[in-house]
Symmetry: C2
Subunit: 406 residues, 2 copies
């Protein structure tokens, strides 16, 4: 009898959790498991704001996928997925075609610019290791160039962050620590640096507890962050952004660095896959399968799950992605073992959310309790370590964990 | 009786040596000594190739001038010299006018582009701390951007060094060590990187021993450096250089980084000073005074001294600059003490030359003996430490010296 083949696309939180759980639950002869990822490493998407600001080296943010998978059970393929052909049960990659019996799509998110002119060309996004270290180096060079040039361009020392959601705020928190370091490194007066957060919505961190948001705003402002709330970005140019001001007017803000942290969507590969989707995200069934497809699971940032209490989608988080990976692994195990019905239903188990405000500071709600300052910062590091533990066990925590708690 | 005022322009090897020697030789009441420098730090010009490549942090390459001068005897002024008025015995700076009785011009060298189109705009020069760290950050960003961009521009990984003289070769040696590090840092295949040295002359390191030059060339080639000898740069653009090929043809070499290391001249301030000069360098009298000016000494890279054995000028080196500083300090002491004639004649005492080829490798002739490899590299570090010792004593050597000998 031929072993069924399971193909997992993506080595992020969702995909890697699926692979590491499956390798425990299935015997060598029960299935042929293939994990396809663009790089030979996994990276912590939720830590990228640190690598982007330069407060944490990008090698601390990633680890070899080979170090957490069991090669005797999982065939790990470094390749870029080019097309998902759900009608033909096969994947096209730059390293050849891969047929599947069961597919897990866990390709993660892409940046969403909502059609704002110039953003794609002129703004950076905090989306992967490559982009993060590029942001870090770009900011470094702006400071170095300012120090070296005869006719100084003050806008080199302006960093605009578009978006005051989770990623934007966490990145601003890191910049609050990084800017003083950069000023020392390049002999620049800190007063000359401007870090500006531009947000179209009338508040920062929508959905977060109001008291905590107030704490975050005032802490970031004390670190020099200027907030421009209720201010939509109309356009980005090579050297500036143009923002709306009142009903009709616009204003140009010159900036050497523009980082867009205001929107994500699913993988564009979903849109040509034949899988029903909305903005590249798939509203999955309760068992995490794509609608109408018995052998395709979609998890992580490519999936869309409605929080029925408020009738809005759950935000895409690592916490949910990993929980989905666990459920999919169990459902796949059941299918491979011959069970046809009654697959497990996925229900998010939200343990809380912590938003970092840089070294030693954060805000969060954990198990229903509000936290700020070092207590929240400690919880944030525990959350980060927990992700490592769930995928790679204690060994990975010791190797890549965050232990500088206070 | 009014104390005579001595003004020293520049805190490089020559100027700082003059100041530190004068403060030992003259009493507080004998002269008013003012040292004017653009920055509050001295930097090791001969180590800048390391800071530029990123193999040594720029803070290792500089130290506070305040740490080596005696403030009770030397008034240290951080200011930028704007004009030397030798006819009026005064200096115009951005912090006001400074009159002098005796002047020491030690303003160092500037880059000379020989009118080659585009070089000023598009090429970096290894001329000071600001420029060096800018080169380092620029190269870093090229690698980071290459790794991040979807449509890869291979020329980002091409570094062109114009000039195979001392600075060019030493910089190439450091790049030989730095490029493999950059490739690891940004996940780039080293085979994709091109380091090209373009030199108009038919040989590298003109004036150096032929056998040693051969050694240097083959060692650098084994580190991946490509030499284009007998190839003049005709023009630099934002993304390339255009070089001559044979008599009539030209060739464009695309490059993300262009570093011009082929020519220096004296300070442009000399040209408007009323002091006789050639390309901003002053052919000084035997006692290091400017021709026709009894109270103006010119030393370091702004001075020009002919080696009568070969009827060519001595190259501008730190070794000569420091020796000149010692002689000028003694001559100034004599003048202040009332001696009018018979000032000391300057004669360079060439102890040897060592050209670094990167970590652990060098070539040199020291006390007439040819050296290569670790022996030469050791001597190079001793030469570097000696410069620190002569200006700042053992304390400075221990603080800023190079002790990783093997």
């Amino acid at each position: 009898m031929r072993k069924p083949s399971i193909v997992i696309l993506g080595g992020g939180y969702a995909g890697l959790m699926t692979a590491t759980r499956l390798q425990k639950q299935l015997g060598k002869d029960e299935a042929q498991i293939t994990l396809i990822n663009k790089h030979d490493y996994h990276y912590e998407t939720t830590w990228l704001h640190e690598a982007s600001a330069g407060t944490l080296h990008h090698d601390r943010v990633r680890y070899d996928i080979a170090s957490v998978i069991d090669r005797s059970k999982v065939n790990f393929m470094v390749a870029t997925v080019e097309e998902i052909q759900s009608a033909n049960n096969k994947i096209i990659t730059d390293a050849g075609e891969v047929p599947y019996d069961y597919l897990v799509v866990a390709l993660g998110a892409e940046s969403e610019t909502f059609g704002i002119q110039g953003l794609k060309e002129h703004a950076f996004t905090i989306t992967n290791v490559n982009q993060s270290r590029r942001i870090r180096e770009h900011i470094d060079l702006q400071f170095a160039t300012y120090a070296a040039e005869d006719e100084k361009k003050p806008e080199r020392l302006t960093i605009v962050v578009g978006g005051a959601g989770f990623t934007g705020i966490e990145f601003l928190g890191e910049l609050g620590n990084r800017v003083p370091e950069l000023c020392r490194e390049y002999d620049i007066d800190p007063k000359k640096v401007h870090v500006i957060c531009v947000e179209a919505a009338p508040m920062i961190l929508p959905g977060f507890d109001e008291e905590l948001v107030k704490y975050a705003k005032s802490k970031l402002e004390s670190k020099g962050v200027e907030f421009r709330i209720g201010t939509p970005i109309k356009e980005a140019t090579e050297t500036s952004i143009i923002v709306g001001k009142g009903e009709e007017e616009v204003e140009e803000i010159k900036a050497g660095t523009i980082v867009w942290a205001a929107g994500v969507r699913g993988s564009s590969l979903i849109e040509t896959s034949g899988i029903e989707n909305m903005r590249a995200r798939v509203k999955v069934n309760h068992d995490l399968r794509a609608p109408g497809l018995d052998n395709v699971f979609v998890i992580g940032d490519c999936s869309l799950i409605i929080n029925e209490e408020i009738n809005r989608p759950y935000p895409p988080t690592a916490q949910i992605a990993m929980q989905q990976g666990e459920v999919v692994a169990r459902n796949l195990t059941a299918l491979v073992k011959g069970q046809q019905e009654g697959l497990e239903t996925f229900t998010p188990d939200l343990k809380g959310t912590v938003c970092s405000l840089g070294e030693d500071d954060a805000i969060g709600v954990v198990f229903g309790r509000k936290l700020t300052g070092t207590a929240a910062s400690f919880m944030k590091k525990m959350v980060d370590n927990r992700a490592l533990f769930l995928i790679g066990g204690l060994g990975l925590v010791l190797k890549k964990g965050k232990f500088k708690f206070f």
